[in-house]
Symmetry: C2
Subunit: 342 residues, 2 copies
DNA sequence: CTGAAAGCGCTTACAG
DNA sequence: CTGAAAGCGCTTACAG
């Protein structure tokens, strides 16, 4: 049996109030008694029951994290950042997979609510009206990570997707590519789809590159094989393309695989730039040039912000936009060098 | 303010006992009252406080998962399996990173203990005497995932590392490779180091391949760059090698990167086989042939087993060994074909 | 079938 | 400085 505060009180010959005090306000207890209590605690391997404490303080020191699917390689770094931030403030994380299902989301939120979670991080997915109302009626403090809400006043931490896509495209243009394709996520995805396509198109437009959206963009859903097929279609309809912007590292690797397997050299014939900078980006051949999201920081800052909301500390800005950055590796070549090699 | 059972009792004009009953044993309450209570619950958005319940039942429905580092790409699939198993039985998971630090482990275990976690999954790391004693005195139900303990009677779920390494090596030998190198983890690692080296050597021995361990094995610690360097050293001292067994997919990708970057064709000149079958394995070029661990299942079964221990259901076997399997992709070629190509 | 009471393991005014 | 008491939000014998 686990020892309780009563056992400690009995063994040290004081009341449970006193035991409680030596744990929470030791200076209120005379040293002699304090010692006796401390000894009893040690002897009994006593440690306080967080449920009882939580009941009184209305705090549990645990946060809920909702992500679409932990097996997506985008999350390991993000979650590590969240964990570290939580850990630093003595919080724990309960991580749950929603599989983008509303039903699942509801049932998760219900049990987290019962477990008296102090707040939740909502990751990646756009925040529907329905989700918003759920958080609102449950009165959950929420922070959005790697997503944001233009419609509701909810704190968020993410990258400027439109601008990042713009910069990635400009990076290619600066290297004299003029015929650039894109492998995108679903156009109705308000995070990794729509804004990145817009950024891509804006860059082309700004540089007076003629383009026809229907020939230079192809869509791969989330997984590798989809994007592999998308690359095949893209290459089929736009064979003169010299570079491609893929809106995730996974899509970029799929594109590279397709090219390799069809004897098209990367980057000598076609350059590829990715998005995210997951760990895989450094492990491919050629190593992937990509626009990095500060994944770890996104996670870290999101939890940090949530903790501020919970503790009613002021937060500097509602929607924080963390900087992206192009990581140059070996999958992009200057288009003129390309000509030489050829 | 959150509604409590008292609010529901007041609104529906019954005692809290009755409210409690409609939640837990509705058949004990007359339909008329039951309806009234149900309505009040809905009206107040009432949902029971799991802390109060946990205090009484001495159960929280949450499990602790200790892993070395969630940002390792080995874990996403394992954790997904754990999550699904937990979810299916209405349990939640608190995931914590130990960074292989004893201090960190102790502090994590302390708070999980206070939070009255129902049990813990200990992942990947070998179970030291010290850890064992910790679990023992805390009286935590524990299951080991992707590791096991020869010394203590603790349930575990993992692959037979020695045999899997043996099979991977035999796979190369069957394809007529006779000069095979290995990129291994640290030899003192009782999971991904020692047994896999032993399996590798046993395969060579069984097939009468002459070998000198000091020339055909090199060590890369955990990360990519280490293994890249290890591959460089291995190739330097064993240039006639035609195939390499890497004891993780990450090591295999590092080996492939090294070979590519030095214009050594894979698999045409040197074949590479990996270990784990993480998602990256399908995304590399060439796609990686590897010995798969059933990562998802390891996670799923470990939680399943832990739940059985917690509920005092019998478990079929203390140490379950899940089957490994070689996934053939494109990074290994028959050594005779290799000669032809050359 | 239902309510009052005790209790789960704590914390925190309130007296003294 | 310290103890008795009330209370956090529930569940569960025990009477009736």
């Amino acid at each position: 049996m686990k020892a309780t505060i009563k056992d400690v009180a009995r063994l040290s010959g004081v009341s449970i109030s006193t035991v409680s005090r030596v744990m929470n306000n030791p200076e209120l207890v005379v040293p002699r008694k304090r010692q006796r209590v401390l000894e009893a605690i040690r002897e009994l391997h006593y440690s306080p029951n967080a449920l009882a404490r939580g009941l009184i303080h209305k705090r549990t020191g645990t946060l809920g994290v909702l992500i679409p699917d932990i097996s997506n390689l985008f999350y390991p770094a993000v979650l590590r950042g969240m964990e570290d931030a939580a850990n630093q403030s003595d919080y724990n994380l309960i991580i749950c997979n929603t599989d983008t299902s509303t039903v699942r989301r509801n049932s998760i939120l219900k049990v987290l609510y019962e477990k008296q979670i102090d707040g939740v991080i909502w990751t990646s997915e756009p925040l529907s009206r329905n989700s918003y109302e759920m958080f609102d009626t449950l009165d959950f403090p929420v922070v959005l990570a790697a997503t944001h809400s233009p419609d509701y006043e909810i704190p968020s931490v993410r990258v400027d997707d439109e601008q990042a896509a713009y910069d990635a495209t400009v990076y290619l243009i600066k290297r004299r590519h003029t015929r650039i394709g894109m492998i995108s996520g679903p156009p109705n995805d308000p995070i990794s789809g729509y804004p990145r396509i817009q950024g891509f198109l804006r860059a082309l437009r700004d540089h007076h590159l003629q383009f026809d959206e229907s020939v230079c963009v192809e869509f791969g859903k989330y997984h590798f094989e989809d994007s592999y097929e998308a690359m095949k279609r893209l290459h089929g309809k736009y064979p003169e393309m010299t570079a491609v912007f893929a809106s995730s590292d996974e899509r970029a690797l799929a594109a590279i695989s397709y090219l390799h397997e069809n004897q098209i050299r990367v980057p000598d014939e076609i350059s590829v730039i990715g998005f995210d900078d997951t760990r895989m980006a450094g492990m491919s051949f050629p190593r992937l040039t990509t626009v990095a999201q500060p994944l770890y920081n996104i996670g870290y800052l999101a939890v940090d912000k949530l903790l501020k909301v919970i503790n009613e500390n002021p937060i500097e800005e509602l929607r924080t936009c963390v900087p992206h950055q192009i990581i140059e590796r070996n999958s992009v070549i200057d288009c003129t060098q390309r000509a030489v090699i050829k």
